[in-house]
């Protein structure tokens, strides 16, 4: 196994590079992604190596970034659009929902909307407002889109390549607070298919399901729980739409209890969906209702307070306690 250690930022960079090498129709487009290499340096060096025609520094307008990527898709290009931050994807919402999600259908399959919208999402970097949003539920709710999220450098490296190769439009959520953390990347082959969930830790008492930046917090919570004699099984959803439920079902059939973790507020969210689906599918196994640990139902707070907004180890363990407290 040819593994190497790199940060998630570097893994994304390398993944993009490989995708661009493999297919000349792959383009990158976004604000400041060329000379600057993106505010997170995800595209560092790529314009230098692939030219300004393939790594396109764009004027500042997100609807136009996505809308022109649609036109490029119709022309046969595969554009990876970078939204500079999660909170700046909303100007492009109309293009995403009305066009990106629907054009394959509207054209009866004549158009392939093979484009990827990269979204550095979630909080944890102490930024100002609009830089810490978790908009994944909006896209998961939208038929015609797919939504995935990576949580490790290895996933970042492979998932971005898989997403670019895929023919459906994909919202690619990157946990920006984890960009600089290192991990092993296996350069030979992906560990999972793009739309598969992954079990990150085996356990017997409670299944905890999360994604993105929450994964690390969940793993920490699992360590703490273990030291208190509670065994958590941890699943990284990875694909937020469609959800890969089978491994979760298998886990819950074993544990009888589950907790979902996300930074977004819980109303009509990925967590809600997980609870709804898993309750339906595991009804007889469930010894407690699924509990959602999530951001609160308030605008993302000033970031001096963000660690009290984002699911913490304590809050996750509180959720675990709550599901353990149910008797059945």
């Amino acid at each position: 196994m040819a593994t190497t250690t790199m940060t998630m930022a570097k893994a994304l960079n390398e993944g993009l590079r490989r995708a661009m090498e493999r297919d000349k129709k792959v383009l990158l487009m976004g604000e400041d992604i060329g000379k600057l290499g993106g505010v997170f340096r995800i595209t560092d060096g790529l314009q230098k190596d692939f030219g300004e025609d393939r790594v396109i520094d764009s004027p500042l307008a997100e609807s136009a970034i996505v809308g022109t990527a649609v036109g490029l898709a119709i022309r046969g290009y595969r554009t990876v659009c970078e939204m500079q931050f999660d909170g700046f994807v909303y100007p492009a919402f109309d293009q995403i929902v009305s066009q990106v999600a629907k054009l394959h259908k509207r054209s009866d399959g004549a158009y392939t909307m093979g484009l990827v919208i990269r979204l550095p999402f979630q909080g944890g970097i102490g930024a100002i407002e609009h830089h810490s949003e978790s908009p994944e539920a909006y896209f998961a709710h939208t038929a015609g889109l797919r939504v995935v999220s990576c949580s490790t450098p290895n996933d970042a490296y492979w998932m971005i390549q898989q997403a670019i190769e895929h023919d459906d439009p994909i919202i690619f959520c990157e946990p920006k607070s984890r960009y600089w953390e290192k991990g092993e990347v296996d350069l030979e082959g992906p560990s999972h298919e793009l739309f598969e969930s992954a079990r990150r830790r085996e356990g017997t008492d409670v299944t905890v399901i999360g994604y993105g930046a929450s994964m690390k917090t969940i793993m920490r919570a699992a360590d703490t729980a273990a030291s208190e004699g509670v065994s958590l099984e941890v699943i990284d959803a990875r694909s937020l739409s469609p959800l890969d439920l089978e491994p979760m079902i298998a886990s819950i059939e074993k544990t009888g209890r589950f907790v979902t973790v996300q930074e977004a507020p819980h109303t009509a969210s990925i967590g809600s969906e997980l609870v709804a689906e898993l309750t339906q599918r595991c009804f007889y196994s469930l010894r407690a209702p699924g509990i959602r640990v999530s951001g609160y139902h308030v605008p993302y707070p000033p970031t001096r307070l963000e660690e009290d907004y984002r699911p913490s180890v304590d809050r996750i363990l509180d959720g675990v306690d709550r599901v353990m407290g149910f008797e059945s």
């Binding site: 809308g67 022109t68 649609v70 290009y77 009305s98 394959h104 259908k105 054209s107 469609p242």
Partner: protein
């Protein structure tokens, strides 16, 4: 209607007028052929309106009054060009070779598109105002990357000129010098909204502020529209960048068959524009300058009539699709929720698989 800003080559009376920058390049046969197309699409439009009245279409968006704008622009296109229409570009679709019945699929509510846009190089209709302008610019950026000598044309109305997407598309077209022509049919109205509410100054002037030329053309003068569009497309194909064309015209009918224009506009306005009918002036020219006779006109009318008859038959034959088709092409590849939906529908016996 004397307007310094307006490119006109043919008066409403069918008299030729000179213009410092544009001259008609078409011979009598070609002009006749433009006339023929206009007659046909007018007939198509009338037939569709009556199909709608008879409950055979859910809706219809008439183009009466805009035939010269659409045929002039549509005929200026070359086969390799690509077009991005709204819901009202039936004349353009005709010029691109889209079968009339395919244009009606959306209005019969049996499809959200209706034809293969790649085959005809004419995109599916865009209903959300302005969205398509960005697609056109993106497509044009692809043309640039391919090093192809092709132009892209997108259509929008006076109303849609106020949408952020339309305006952003101007920015991008200018920044990337994209081979795109923005063809704005200013038909004076966006449903009940007069174009004067969208802009206090002539719309074509907006382009200049974004750094590319804008031209206002008499949208009821097919000769002028043809020449202005041709020049803009030619220019785009050889790297000359974007142009905005404002075709100054008039929506003679209602916004759609659901609309009641008597609530917001006065008859007198419609009367004025009747005298500027895009077909009549060409006919006058053809009679006077090319001695075209009644028989030739009759022949065109016959053709139009035959088209309309066939259209009616085709539309009536368009059955309700099998509900299960709603799952087709929602995604390009397998998807658990699609499988689930299909299964549920089959179990409920909604789709019998009999189709």
């Amino acid at each position: 209607m004397i307007d310094e800003e307006l490119v006109q080559l043919l008066t409403p009376e069918g008299l030729r007028v000179g213009h410092p920058e544009y001259a008609s390049s078409l011979d009598g046969e070609e002009i006749f052929s433009l006339y023929r197309d206009m007659v046909i699409v007018r007939r198509l439009c009338n037939e569709s309106t009556s199909l709608q009245r008879q409950g055979q279409l859910a809706l219809w968006a008439p183009i009466q009054g805009q035939e010269a704008a659409q045929i002039g622009a549509g005929r200026a296109l070359q086969p390799m060009d690509f077009t991005f229409p709204t819901y009202r570009e039936h004349g353009i679709a005709w010029c691109r070779g889209v079968p009339p019945e395919d244009v009606l699929r959306m209005f019969r509510a049996v499809s959200n598109g209706g034809w293969n846009p790649q085959h005809f190089r004419h995109s599916v209709p865009t209903v959300v105002l302005g969205n398509q302008a960005l697609h056109a610019v993106g497509y044009a950026m692809g043309v640039q990357r391919d090093g192809a000598e092709e132009a892209v044309m997108t259509f929008f109305g006076d109303g849609a000129s106020s949408q952020g997407d339309t305006l952003e598309s101007f920015v991008w077209a200018a920044s990337f010098n994209a081979p795109v022509v923005f063809f704005c049919q200013n038909n004076q109205w966006g449903i009940s909204t007069p174009s004067s509410l969208q802009s206090k100054v002539p719309l074509y002037r907006r382009a200049e502020g974004f750094g590319f030329p804008g031209v206002r053309v008499d949208g009821n003068d097919v000769l002028a529209v043809y020449e202005v569009t041709k020049k803009a497309l030619d220019n785009a194909r050889v790297g000359g960048g974007p142009t905005m064309i404002e075709a100054y015209t008039y929506r003679m009918g209602a916004h759609t068959t659901s609309d009641d224009p008597t609530r917001y506009r006065i008859d007198a306005e419609v009367e004025v524009w009747k005298h500027r009918d895009p077909l009549e002036r060409v006919k006058a020219l053809l009679v006077r300058e090319y001695q075209i006779k009644g028989a030739a006109f009759d022949q065109v009318n016959h053709e139009a009539e035959a088209m309309a008859l066939k259209l009616r038959d085709d539309v009536l034959a368009m059955g309700r699709p099998d509900p299960i088709t709603m799952f087709d092409h929602a995604y390009a590849s397998e998807h658990a929720l699609i499988e689930e939906g299909r299964r549920e529908m089959l179990e409920l016996g909604i789709s019998g698989g009999a189709h």
